[in-house]
Symmetry: C2
């Protein structure tokens, strides 16, 4: 039953050689990897303005230079990463680049930072999407954790079906959102150019604090979250069709153009219309209502925004399993994360991500806004390490044009490093301090895992192994009574070996049980040994016998043959003692005992 | 860890030969088996009066003849059962007596009726005791299910420790209750005899219905529940010290005298004082306050009453496991119910009873008063069948005095049969109809279980079995890679057999895996077979190979040797794939495959 449920949910398994066919086109790649970055245009500008208006309405004018700085940062990061993806066609996320160029320590920092940020992205973006839904239907508010977890489960399942299915399912809303946002920006900028866009008369906001440099940097940090989607593309290079490096670079380029246009467009329009943050309505909603009225376009954009906020999590489902597969391949994560599942995706990573994000959501009761600073830090740590690694890479490679490439990556590293510092300082009390605790802990776990694998490998190594030596083994057949199953066991024992013994455990306390008298009628060669069990336990007398066989008769191993008969239904199974199962569970921990489970049909 | 927790909770196992020492004296037997019957004196008279006052205060005078009828019924049943326990020293409950004399059908009716009534007794009496506690501390009302389940768990544990421990733990409150009740009756009757007991001036109750014969019979039915404890003694005869039959008969005699005195004494006193039922206070509490004032005696009796109500359930813990052990011995219940546990009690019956009663309590939210009619019907069904069976028994035996014995049991059968009819008719709409549905269903289950065991026995029978025939077996050693564990596997394989094959599953898609090249350096005799797995599943290629070995090479069985290495801690276990476990789970359902699990330490 379970296998067929699995087929229905996930689909038929795909053959390993189809791996090269399960690739993403540029359009599909954009749908999978761009969702996270693009979704941030729905709230990025608003976050900046909200941070600024603490210093009064007039301070909101700073949104234009800050927005320009964010776009500039985006351009620097994308140019820098385009170089990385071409150099690392098998996947050039921060973990791999840092490992190859900076060493194990920095690579683990990048890995830990990215893992937290991927998991947080899922929780945070799903919570944001669910909040959009529960604003429309407040009755659903109390079910927000269940709705969020249900959505995460659904995304997990779609991703388990394979990367192409995920692109097909989530591509439509992504492109709908892009189209609507570009239309909004085009119409708005057009009307502004022809002088047909007037500022609204908003209530001026009183200044609660002076406009300091710290405030401006903090506003910039809030806008920096817009860049979070870029790293996922670099991790996912092998998911693209051939040539995967250049295709990934193209996706990064298109992403930068779209993101820059949408983000800076809305920033300009919000500045021109002087729209102010409100408790009841997002600023994007106010802008759309002003430009188009509350008609079909307005509602289409609202729906598309809610959907893209949730789908943003899909980028993590593409990035996280690849990252953990790399780390598992290096022995820093459990080996299972490197297994390709039925549909040629890293199923264990997908399942782990879904479970971890759902637990986080449940733990915080669906209110995860406070976690946002954490993931910005994770992403900028990864950016900085990745680009610093690329600088080292070019210094080592020294091919044609290496100087230019090194300079580009160095600029990227310095700028993202500075942003990391800004985010860390301005958001420290808002939760960024947690990262300082969490990342060393995670690195400790990674190293412990690696130590275990190293230990296992060393113990299993053949370097000090001797010859294959002969061994002495004793076969014991357990018999419960004199019946047909016992004869099957005897036939089997005799096929296995010429010698062997049958063992009967007498728990009723009879000195001369019936089986003892019947045995010789059926079997001459194999002796029957009756062990009496004064405490009705089957285990102790058997273990004593095994130990004495090993000690006194010099056997190296004892094989215990446990015949078990098979019934057809679960309720029939309830009617039997399952001694075979219990014996296996307990005997498996006795050293030098091998268990042979022989099942027979009635 | 689990075994030591078990030792702490339940105690050290007892040897089978100690069974004859784990017996109850007369005092202990009374403590275990009398609790249920004696506890009913706390509410029996009140139930009768409550049923009568529907026809007004004057109708309450009928309580004296009805009380006398209940005591007469008790005397008849006890005399009748004293004969049964002497004749059936290995346990003479209604199930056994009906089986031996009336046949399988009636015995299953008795078994089903008794099982329902034992389970219901636990739920109902624990609920009554918990209600007494939550009346005193209303804040606990919302935790009533948890308190009840906790108490059931505690009683289950005490009974798992053995029957003597249960008598020791629960004996004190039982004897305290007996002493206090006898004191109450003695003082009350003494004062009445000397004219020092005056009726209180209670508000007269208006008649809501005429005093009909139906009403009187219904009141009598309510009082009949007092007899429920008698059957448990008959079931438990082997639990008494030698001579167990006469000792059980003595316990029944003492029980009848105590029960008669306490029950009829309170009936007379409640009649003489003209105490009326109240919503706030039980009639027994009113009587004690009138006779002794609200001093230490009054409170001691209240506490003892609350405790005995809960302990009444202990009688079921003594009776139910013995009944199910009898039925399991006959193949009508799962065989596990006949297993003697560590402490020489039928542990599975105790556990099942505790779980079933707790679930019933939880299902009805701790309010199980409505279930009371159900268990009266179960008990009187058992009484009637048991005594009818005894009549048949005497007719067959025809020993000295058989006529007298047969007449006594016949009178018992007729009277309890009439009471059964009265209870069934007067309580039909109050829930007795459920029994009509439930008992046939249970009998269907009993018969289905028996059919399964008969089928298994027939299939396992040696009557048509031939000689032990020779068989061909192929040994396959699964190897994952070339490491020390593989050498251990080879050593083991060679100890087991001279021939055999090693199997490697290649899931990476490599045509010439590394192990293939290394194999011949280490092993010359055993060939290595590489199976490639295009869908990365370990199962399908292995099953195909096994099937072809059986079909094309004529092997009867294939033994798959699965080496598995053992790690020290649970977290290390998380870091490995557990292929060995998965292979075992799936291969165990393939016919003709034996699984050999060989574990090695690093």
């Amino acid at each position: 039953m379970l296998p067929s449920l699995r087929r229905i949910l996930i689909g038929e398994p795909l053959a390993t050689h189809r791996l090269s066919l399960e690739r993403l086109s540029i359009l599909g790649g954009l749908a999978v990897f761009a969702a996270d970055a693009l979704s941030s245009t729905a709230y990025g500008t608003e976050e900046i303005i909200r941070a600024l208006v603490v210093a009064g309405s007039a301070a909101a004018a700073w949104v234009v230079p800050i927005g320009a700085a964010v776009v500039a940062l985006l351009i620097v990061v994308v140019i820098s990463y385009r170089q990385t993806v071409v150099e690392y066609p098998s996947g050039g996320g921060a973990y791999v680049v840092a490992r190859d160029n900076l060493g194990v320590g920095p690579s683990l920092v990048a890995g830990a930072a990215l893992q937290t940020s991927y998991i947080l992205t899922v929780s945070v973006s799903v919570a944001a999407g669910v909040a959009a839904i529960t604003s429309a239907w407040p009755a659903l508010h109390e079910h927000r954790v269940a709705i969020g977890a249900g959505w995460i489960l659904f995304m997990g399942l779609v991703n388990l079906r394979g990367v192409r299915e995920s692109a097909a399912v989530f591509g439509v809303p992504v492109y709908a959102f892009i189209t609507l946002m570009l239309a909004l920006v085009a119409v708005g900028v057009g009307r502004f150019a022809f002088g047909a866009l007037q500022p609204i008369e908003a209530q001026p906001v009183e200044a609660a604090a002076p406009l300091t440099m710290f405030l401006i940097l903090r506003a910039f940090s809030s806008g920096g979250a817009t860049l979070t989607g870029v790293e996922a593309v670099a991790n996912g290079v092998p998911a693209f069709t051939h040539p995967s490096g250049p295709n990934a670079a193209r996706v990064l380029g298109i992403l930068a153009i779209l993101l820059g246009t949408m983000f800076f467009g809305t920033t300009l329009l919000l500045h021109a219309t002087e729209i102010m943050p409100s408790e009841q309505e997002t600023m994007l909603s106010q802008l759309a209502a002003l430009l188009f009225g509350r008609g079909w376009f307005y509602y289409a954009l609202q729906v598309a925004t809610a959907v893209i906020l949730v789908i943003a999590a899909n980028t993590s489902f593409a990035g996280y399993p690849r990252l953990t597969a790399f780390m598992a391949g290096d022995g820093f994560m459990p080996r299972q994360f490197a297994n390709l599942g039925d549909r040629l995706v890293y199923s264990n990573g997908i399942v782990f991500l879904a479970v971890a994000a759902s637990l986080l959501l449940a733990f915080f009761g669906g209110l995860v806004h406070a976690l946002i600073p954490l993931y910005a830090i994770g992403v900028f740590t990864a950016f900085t390490l990745s680009q610093a690694g690329m600088v080292v890479h070019w210094l080592g490679k020294r091919n044609a044009g290496w100087r230019r490439s090194a300079v580009i990556n160095a600029i990227g590293a310095v700028i993202t490093g500075m942003v990391l510092l800004i985010v860390a300082v301005t958001k420290f009390t808002e939760g960024a301090w947690i990262v300082v605790v969490l990342i060393p802990l995670m690195i400790g776990v990674f190293r412990a895992i690696r130590r275990h694998y190293d230990y296992v490998a060393e113990r299993l190594s053949l370097s000090q192994a001797g010859e294959v030596r002969p061994r002495r083994n004793l076969n014991l057949l357990l018999v419960g009574g004199m019946h047909r199953g016992t004869l099957e066991g005897l036939e089997y024992l005799k096929a296995l070996t010429d010698e062997g013994r049958a063992i009967h455990l007498e728990i009723g306390g009879e000195p001369e049980p019936r089986i003892k008298r019947m045995w010789t009628d059926w079997e001459k060669d194999i002796p029957l040994i009756v062990l009496s069990s004064p405490y009705r336990s089957m285990i102790e007398p058997l273990i004593d016998y095994i130990e004495s066989a090993k000690q006194d008769e010099n056997y190296d191993t004892v094989t215990v043959i446990i015949p078990e008969f098979v019934v057809d239904t679960w309720w029939e199974a309830l009617l039997h003692n399952h001694s075979a199962l219990w014996l296996q569970v307990i005997l498996r921990n006795i050293p030098g005992v091998a268990l042979l489970n022989m099942r027979y049909k009635l």
